[in-house]
């Protein structure tokens, strides 16, 4: 089986990797690219643990073929902090203990960031719908939703 060569950009860095045509983007991230922040929960697009952005759009990496990333710009959890400074969402999740086991957290953070970029002043209902594609089996969601609301308020204040 001949491998395919893919050139893409991940968190602003040009990257190249080899993959099979049927490999998912999540396979490539966690395999040859060594970026294990995106998790595999279900592998069928239900849980959101593998959430990433592609050209700014939120998707599940398990539902995209790795070869489709050719020429695209991807954002993963590894690129969320800037120069060692945590993103406000990351800080707030720590402060408010909006996580327990942490498996869902990278996906929740990526989805929450995409939500706030689209809607800096969401209602609680909008946050809950915006994160409906991210399953957490620990927190009961309340702390996550509150942390996202608090971050949004803080970011609006800072803007």
């Amino acid at each position: 089986m001949s491998k395919m060569h893919v050139s893409t950009t991940i968190n602003g860095e040009p990257m190249e990797f080899l993959c099979e045509a049927h490999d998912s983007m999540l396979d490539a991230l966690r395999g040859p690219l060594g970026l294990t922040g995106a998790k595999e929960g279900c592998g069928t697009g239900d849980c959101g643990a593998c959430s990433i952005t592609v050209d700014g759009r939120l998707i599940c990496a398990c539902l995209m073929l790795a070869v489709e990333s050719e020429g695209k710009s991807l954002g993963t959890i590894e690129g969320m902090s800037q120069g060692g400074d945590l993103h406000p969402l990351q800080r707030k999740f720590l402060e408010m203990a909006a996580l327990q086991c942490g498996i869902c957290t990278p996906g929740v953070l990526i989805a929450a960031k995409a939500l706030l970029e689209h809607n800096p002043n969401p209602t609680e209902t909008e946050v809950r719908f915006g994160l409906a594609g991210n399953l957490c089996r620990c927190t009961g969601y309340d702390k996550i939703v509150r942390a996202v609301m608090e971050t949004a308020a803080e970011m609006r204040g800072a803007a």
Binding site: M1, M4, E20, A21, H22, S24, G43, T44, G45, D46, G48, S51, V54, R57, L58, I59, C60, C62, L63, M64, L65, V67, E68, A111, A114, L115, F129, G130, A132, G133, N134
Partner: protein, 289 residues
């Protein structure tokens, strides 16, 4: 495991010839939200994957000079939601598309894929049928068109001939006084499969309904057009008797299954209830258009 090849052609002709040449061993990739799940489960083992997202026509939303819209088969739910005009003209179609899966899924999933997947419960399909959308199909023998309601053939089956690819939807121009709506019944508030889905499109003039179309999903082997429900609405002022007659026509059209999501009796009753509620929303939108 069999070797899978991946092709991302720039033109429709290239896509059609590669797809047809593979003689059934190929699958079309738009958003992949069904295909990749099937591949992972071993249900689909395509020898060739034809990615149609690099084909301009497949990826474009066009508001035509006559007021109609053409939506490429690979256009994602998010692209449709981001379009400045589509949701204003077709709010019911957009709300149906936006019910499909999570934000993550909507970043990739397309109404074209929803139709080609052939699910009796696909959310965008009843709304497209109500809208009177026509699909354009291209295959080895050229192009043809058919109304959306003629496309599904049964659960997981479509009336695409071998080698044919869905290219686009065309939604007709909207006369003044028109509105559409889509409602689905699910046991929770988000991220579920319709127990019943109902799309309604109306045109009102001086308080009288002069045109109507009704699409019903998840209550028969395919999503379907319910002409008797539309007939019960046309020519009326949508008074309670007319709504009751249209609701009865919806229930009469149901041939559902019993499953864990709903019984035959429940689905049949809910089809009529959703019709009345969707008509109310569509009529309110029509009054503002």
């Amino acid at each position: 495991m069999t070797d899978t090849r991946y092709l991302a052609p720039q033109t429709l002709d290239e896509a059609v010839s590669a797809f047809a040449a593979a003689q059934g061993a190929a699958r079309i990739l738009a958003g992949g939200t069904d295909l990749l799940v099937q591949m992972r489960a071993g249900v689909a083992t395509p020898g060739l994957i034809v990615d149609i997202k690099k084909i301009g026509e497949m990826n474009r939303i066009t508001e035509n000079a006559d007021g109609s819209f053409t939506v490429g088969a690979a256009v994602s739910a998010v692209s449709l939601a981001d379009h400045p005009r589509f949701g204003t003209v077709w709010p019911g179609v957009l709300e149906a598309v936006n019910l499909i899966g999570s934000k993550q899924v909507q970043g990739r999933a397309s109404p074209g894929g929803n139709l080609c997947n052939g699910s009796p419960a696909g959310d965008s399909v009843p709304a497209m049928i109500a809208a009177g959308a026509v699909v354009t199909i291209q295959g080895p023998n050229g192009r043809r068109q058919m109304p959306v309601e003629a496309f599904p053939a049964g659960p997981g089956k479509t009336n695409l001939a071998p080698g044919e690819i869905l290219v686009s939807f065309t939604l007709p121009a909207r006369p003044a006084g028109s509105g559409d709506a889509y409602l689905r019944m699910i046991p929770r508030t988000e991220m579920d499969i319709a127990v019943v889905g109902c799309g309604v499109s109306l045109t009102m003039k001086d308080g009288v309904c002069i045109a109507a179309r009704v699409g019903l999903g998840a209550v028969a082997p395919t999503v379907m057009l319910v002409e008797d429900a539309a007939k019960a609405l046309i020519g009326t002022r949508l008074e309670p008797a007319a709504l009751a007659a249209a609701a009865a026509a919806c229930s009469a059209a149901c041939r559902p299954i019993n499953d864990k999501r709903g019984t035959i009796a429940y689905r049949t009753k809910v089809a009529g209830v959703l019709l009345k509620r969707a008509v109310a929303i569509a009529a309110e939108r029509a009054s503002r258009s």
